[in-house]
Amino acid sequence: MSTQQAEPESQEAPEDPAMKGAESPAADEQTGGGMVDDHAEKRAELEGETVHIKVFRYDPEVEGKQEPRFDDFHVPFEKGMTVLDAVMYARDEYDSSLTFRHSCRQAVCGSDAFFVNGKQRLGCKTQISDLEQPVRIEPLPHQEVVKDLVVDMDHFYDQMHTVEPYFQDEDTPATEDLEEQRQTPENREKIKMSSRCIWCGACMSSCNIAAGDNEYLGPAAINKAYKFAMDDREDEQIKEHRLRILEQEHGVWRCQTQFSCTEVCPKDIPLTEHIQELKREAVKKNLKFW
């Protein structure tokens, strides 16, 4: 059976205020490779319940996509369908140029954070039936768009690397001579939540401060540092070093406790709480010198 379908899409003028001025491309921007399927088949397949999604499209190279626009797709609904399933279906069945990152389908690789109906969410972890239709799917805000739903993550990675996200234990002996270190279950529990971050960037994208201050470390990187700073296996001196990185101008003080990071984190990491705890730690440390 041929799965190549004509795109059941009706182009609409973009609604998003940010998109004002974008032209609405010609209604029949055909992406089906010139193949025109008979309508009967298309209808038959779409007879059941469908989900209406509006997907942000942009491609610097392709005519008609250089001006950002929204494309509409109607995807047959299945129980348990996630936002990722819906865009994958749209890509595989209607328009193979629809581009987004994804891999694990189970909320561990962190590739598919999108801006769905006005909130940063992981595509694979968001049940589409929980959302209001049409479901508006955009790339993460505050990051440059490479193409469609793909954003440039370099800045995010840079920030993550800035906090020296690695154990500092300098003189690790040869592997054969290593002795297991001890860590109390309580201490492990303390860092448990912080260690769950999957680098999806949702938090960073949701933070107004990070949007305004490009150098702000951002919630994810601060949380990463938290994981190390709170781990008893590293000694005090290193912890101080870590705090020094964090209390620089673009560090923890920039956080204005807006909480949106905490609200969007797909791994339920209490980011604001961790940031606040680090602020207190830093103050405590500084008070010592007074």
Binding site: A18, P60, G118, T257, F259, R280
Partner: protein, 143 residues
């Protein structure tokens, strides 16, 4: 070569509809803070008439000779607009105080789960206190 698309600042403001409690709290707190510091400057300016007042300067108000300080204050207080602004100031101050308390709690790591609720509570309380104070603020003013 590839280039990327920067959606620019517009998007920040374009998304205000999607802001969450914490973001609104931040915006309101900022706004009220600025109003308060602005007011503080004006306030001192107005109170500066007391320097003259202390030196016995007077002015004529409705045929009565009054201390400039007293006259200025009462003159201002006599204006309906000023009374309204005072109610506004109260609202601003109350919100800033309540949300400030909320922020202090957040800083101490207390009740973080309720941060959105406490913001709404601040709003509601501010509204209530403001409304309740209207009679007091508007007594004795002639429109």
């Amino acid at each position: 070569m590839s280039q990327s698309y920067n959606r620019g600042l517009v998007e920040d403001f374009g998304r205000w509809k999607e802001f969450s409690a914490g973001m609104w709290a931040w915006i309101f707190h900022k706004f009220t803070g600025w109003v308060l510091i602005g007011y503080l400057f004006t306030h001192i300016a107005v109170l500066s008439t007391s320097i003259g007042g202390a030196q016995g300067e007077t002015t004529m108000v409705g045929g009565e000779e009054l201390n400039v300080y007293t006259a200025t204050l009462q003159g201002l207080e006599g204006l309906f607009l000023i009374r309204l602004l005072e109610v506004g100031l109260l609202a601003v101050a109350v919100f800033h105080i309540l949300n400030g308390l909320r922020l202090l709690m957040v800083d101490l790591g207390v009740g973080l789960e309720a941060q959105d609720k406490s913001f709404y509570a601040s709003l509601v309380l501010t509204g209530a206190i403001t409304v309740a104070s209207v009679p007091t603020f508007l007594t004795g003013v002639t429109i």
